[in-house]
Symmetry: C2
């Protein structure tokens, strides 16, 4: 029974996504055909469409990698801690241990997010990825506030928080693509403070402090 395991499925999707993103970046989305992606990955074109509903969404897994770290950190946020403290500790820990996503993938994600600013097809994918982020944030925030994830207030906080995270990602991504030093964004302390402040502001202070 069982078919392909989720992790296996995720791996092939990521593999396809990497090649697609590389091609999108090198020659543009419109100029990249499904056949080309398939050839680059080494599978048949049909397989591409089995794993992705359309060409643009081939970029989604790579784009997702760009936010998956932060989302993972937020999932593990204990109720009795300040957001900035938790972020700082976790991001520092990730810097020492094996990072969950490779630097090359982060770079690809950054490039895709930057491309999304001008390529409308990719923008839709990017927004869909952020939409997914928002739903997951809804669960986290709902949990923290002791409310169901589909509660109106929870959804508002989640949407606002996801929105400012997106703006940050776009902002940093644009700077990096423009040639800014990547190290500039390696200051865990400052980064944590900025994210925490943005989320706290966007939720009117509802998310950020310990909850009793």
């Amino acid at each position: 029974m069982g078919g392909m395991s989720d992790v296996q499925r995720a791996r092939i999707r990521l593999q396809i996504s990497r090649e697609a993103a590389r091609l999108f970046w090198d020659q543009g989305v419109a100029a990249t055909s499904g056949d080309q992606i398939a050839e680059a990955v080494g599978v048949s074109t049909r397989t591409i469409w089995r794993h992705f509903r359309n060409k643009e969404s081939c970029a989604e897994p790579v784009i997702m990698q760009g936010v998956v770290t932060l989302l993972g950190v937020l999932s593990a946020w204990p109720k009795d801690r300040f957001l900035e403290d938790h972020l700082k500790a976790e991001l520092a820990r990730l810097g020492v241990e094996e990072p969950p996503v490779s630097f090359a993938d982060e770079m690809l994600a950054t490039q895709m997010i930057w491309l999304a600013d001008t390529e409308p097809a990719l923008r839709a994918s990017w927004l869909m990825a952020c939409d997914q982020t928002e739903r997951e944030l809804g669960v986290i925030i709902g949990n923290r506030l002791g409310l169901p994830p589909d509660d109106l207030e929870v959804r508002q906080h989640a949407a606002a928080a996801a929105a400012v995270i997106r703006i940050h990602d776009e902002h940093i991504g644009a700077a990096i693509v423009a040639g800014a030093d990547v190290a500039e964004y390696a200051d865990v302390e400052a980064l944590s403070k900025r994210y925490a402040h943005a989320i706290r502001t966007a939720t009117g202070g509802a998310i950020g402090d310990p909850v009793i």
Copy 2:
């Protein structure tokens, strides 16, 4: 010189959008072909693709109508007024005067927004429409704070505000489609307060009060 005027172009786009939205609602997006939309409007299929980059985006003008009222009201928000007061006055005025968008269009927009919850193709269009809203909000907020629209703080406020407006629209839309009385949302006073509160919260209090 000059070609088709913008208003003319907008009119044909809206016309196409109405028929497309009706068909999407009646038989689903996938089951609706470009040829069908063209026939319903009474133009050639080629003309459809001249005005829209793809099938799903045919719904965008109608979807946009759903937020255009609020956006117009916000554009005219004087610096020395509280948001709730301005909203209340303007929405009440619009109720008396000729409304900027017909009730039928509002209903179509509501249906499309509801459909977007399950149809991924439409969701992308809906998110793109919200993205547009966000950009316009950026101009309004930047103006209000005396900052350029691409300032990071302005963008964060605009994104968060656009996000909570979207959540509200989805929430109200879902209720109406589910059969709630439309009149329930005709209470201008309550509606103004809710929008104002949501925006004020999402911007950490930065947007909502008069600015000196």
